[in-house]
């Protein structure tokens, strides 16, 4: 071994050692693709199914001769149904024996109206109620929509001589078809009990006579009907969330939602409006799912079963839910301004948003109107 070999060997080692060393400061943060433009989702509660039941009772026998006892059921916030009907029932529930109620279809005269709202040049709304249809001797209907009102008047004549006041409960159930003999055991989302309410006196003038009636109005309740108040579940629009748009992907994550009433589920929509703010198009994110990594688990049946650990029985809530969509094309969310999480009726049309908005958010302008 010569000294020359040793020097070569030593030189190679030094070169190798220098090559193995990195003297520059490492880059520790490297951007990965597009940023996400985020928005908040807040509790909304617009357009939930709601209504009133007015019990109209003549003051005197003279009044009763021309103005019979009547139930007036007014409902709005309903989604139009394509695979079933809203069935209205009158029921008698004995407080001492609530387990054996009796139900009768609440046949009466149904008036469907639509409220068309226009705006003055100053921006003041001008509501215009348009009568859509009037149908006698019906207890079921399918109509609904954001401006649709259903008004059902039930009296002794429409019930075949039975006084509506013989019943103490008004119930709306979801049925596959009209003509059911008994209300569905599951989907009973709207009801009113003939207790409490606010009273007023109605004066009606007919010809030369003036009639007086006592009107007691109660608000309907939306949720899951129970034979006793202890068994019922009252739905309240709760929750919050956060959404984001990253490139062609939109994600909505929400939490602390109330479990939907039986027959309902949550879905997410993105809405595009015209110049005066009228919705003209929707992008369907579809029914909400469990969050990552269980996005394949739909929460559509969270109303009737614990489909995922995020769905709780007590309290009746959904801890977390999510929607995700990936669309093609350049600027696919251009023009879309609103994000809605709605409460959809399972018997309603799948591709149309229900009027019941539980959470809402606004798409950042950098996306919707850059």
């Amino acid at each position: 071994m010569s000294a020359r070999s040793l020097r070569i060997a030593a030189g190679l080692i030094v070169v190798g050692a220098l090559g193995a060393c990195e003297f520059d400061r490492a880059t520790v943060l490297s951007p990965l693709g597009d940023p996400s433009y985020d928005f908040a989702l807040t509790s909304d509660g617009r357009g939930l199914p709601r209504g009133t039941v007015a019990r109209v009772e003549p003051l005197t026998d003279a009044d009763a001769a021309v103005f019979d006892t009547t139930y007036e059921v007014a409902l709005t916030g309903l989604e139009p149904l394509t695979a079933g009907v809203y069935q209205v029932w009158l029921g008698t529930i004995d407080p001492d024996n609530p387990a054996e109620p009796s139900w009768t279809p609440a046949e009466g005269e149904l008036t469907i109206t639509r409220v068309d709202t226009t705006f003055t040049p100053e921006g003041d709304p001008i509501p215009d109620t348009v009568e859509v249809s009037v149908t006698s001797d019906v207890s079921a209907f399918t109509e609904g929509g954001p401006a649709i009102h259903a008004h059902l008047v039930i009296d002794r004549a429409s019930l075949g001589g039975v006084s509506p006041f013989d019943f103490n409960t008004v119930l709306v159930s979801l049925e596959a078809a009209s003509g059911a003999a008994q209300p569905s055991t599951d989907a009973r989302p709207i009801w009113s009990r003939a207790t409490g309410g606010t009273g007023s006196t109605r004066i009606s003038v007919s010809g030369v006579d003036t009639m007086f009636a006592t009107v007691t109005t109660t608000q309907t309740v939306f949720g899951n009907f129970g034979l006793t108040t202890a068994e019922e579940y009252r739905f309240t629009a709760t929750g919050r969330g956060r959404g984001g748009i990253r490139g062609n992907i939109m994600i909505v994550d929400d939490s602390a939602l109330a479990r939907p009433p039986v027959g309902y589920y949550y879905a997410t929509w993105v809405v595009r409006r015209d110049d005066i703010g009228t919705p003209i198009d929707t992008l369907v994110l579809g029914e909400q799912t469990a969050p990552f990594p269980d996005r394949s688990v739909s929460l559509r049946d969270a109303d009737i079963s614990l489909v995922h650990p995020v769905v709780l029985d007590f309290p009746m809530s959904i801890l977390a839910a999510s929607s995700r969509i990936e669309v093609s094309g350049a600027s696919p969310f251009l023009g879309y301004e609103d994000v809605w999480v709605t409460l959809e009726n399972k018997l309603g049309e799948e591709g149309t948003a229900a009027p019941s908005i539980v959470l809402s958010g606004v798409v950042p302008e950098i996306i919707s109107a850059p």
């Binding site: 040793l6 990965l32 996400s36 985020d38 984001g244 992907i249």
Partner: protein, 234 residues
């Protein structure tokens, strides 16, 4: 039984060989070495050069024991550690890397089959490795480590009585490896909103195999003296 058979076979093969002075019994050798280290794909550590040194004592012409030191400065793979940082209503997604100082010390044994110019050998050893994380990224000194092992093979090309060049491949095995220890991203900044839009890293493993390709320069300080003494004896 199996070991005894292996020893007999090795001895039989060795008998006709001419043992060079470099592999004389009771000789020390020093082998500085360097090369490239490819870390296990699941480790989250990027490939990097390394340097090291082995010191060995020849128990016999065919067997030596010693120590080894391997040092490398790899980077973690940022795609494995993704952070989301939110500024107002904008969230940035970032790959977070950090430089590491990897040190592996080991007690090694080497079995070899000495030849005139080329000596194939097998290495095996056990030791301890440490991974020192970057204190600026971690905001404090952090170290991870565990028992290591290595097993490898190579060829030594003899250049003279004292010096040889060796080429080797070695599997440096880290046990008790915790990839999460290398993650500088606090839980609050983990990517929770778009997890499926970034390729998930391979499943983490507790035992990772890192393949090391190296070249070394074997130097036997007393080989010349032993050779000279042998000639004088003749």
């Amino acid at each position: 039984m199996r070991i005894r058979t292996a020893l007999l076979v090795t001895s039989a093969l060795a008998l006709p060989m001419t043992v060079s002075a470099q592999w004389a019994t009771q000789q020390f050798s020093v082998t500085p070495r360097g090369g490239f280290m490819t870390f296990d794909n699941s480790s989250g550590i990027d490939d990097a050069p390394y340097i090291g040194v082995d010191a060995a004592y020849a128990v016999s012409p065919f067997f030596s024991v010693g120590t080894g030191l391997t040092v490398s400065r790899p980077q973690t793979i940022g795609d494995y550690f993704i952070s989301q940082l939110t500024f107002g209503d904008t969230t940035l997604y970032l790959a977070v890397e950090q430089p590491l100082m990897m040190i592996d010390v080991a007690l090694n044994a080497q079995a070899r089959y000495p030849g005139e110019r080329i000596t194939p050998f097998l290495n095996a050893g056990i030791g301890y490795y440490t991974l020192d994380l970057d204190p600026q990224v971690e905001t404090r000194p952090e170290r991870s480590g565990g028992i290591s092992g290595n097993i490898g093979a190579g060829l030594l090309f003899r250049l003279g009585e004292q010096v040889g060049i060796q080429l080797e491949v070695r599997d440096v095995i880290f046990t008790g490896f915790e990839r999460d220890d290398l993650n500088p991203v606090a839980a609050a900044f983990n990517n929770t909103r778009y997890p499926e839009d970034f390729a998930p890293p391979p499943a983490a493993k507790e035992t990772v195999h890192n393949i090391l390709f190296g070249i070394g320069f074997s130097f036997v300080p007393r080989a010349r003296q032993v050779a000279d003494a042998g000639e004088e004896d003749r």
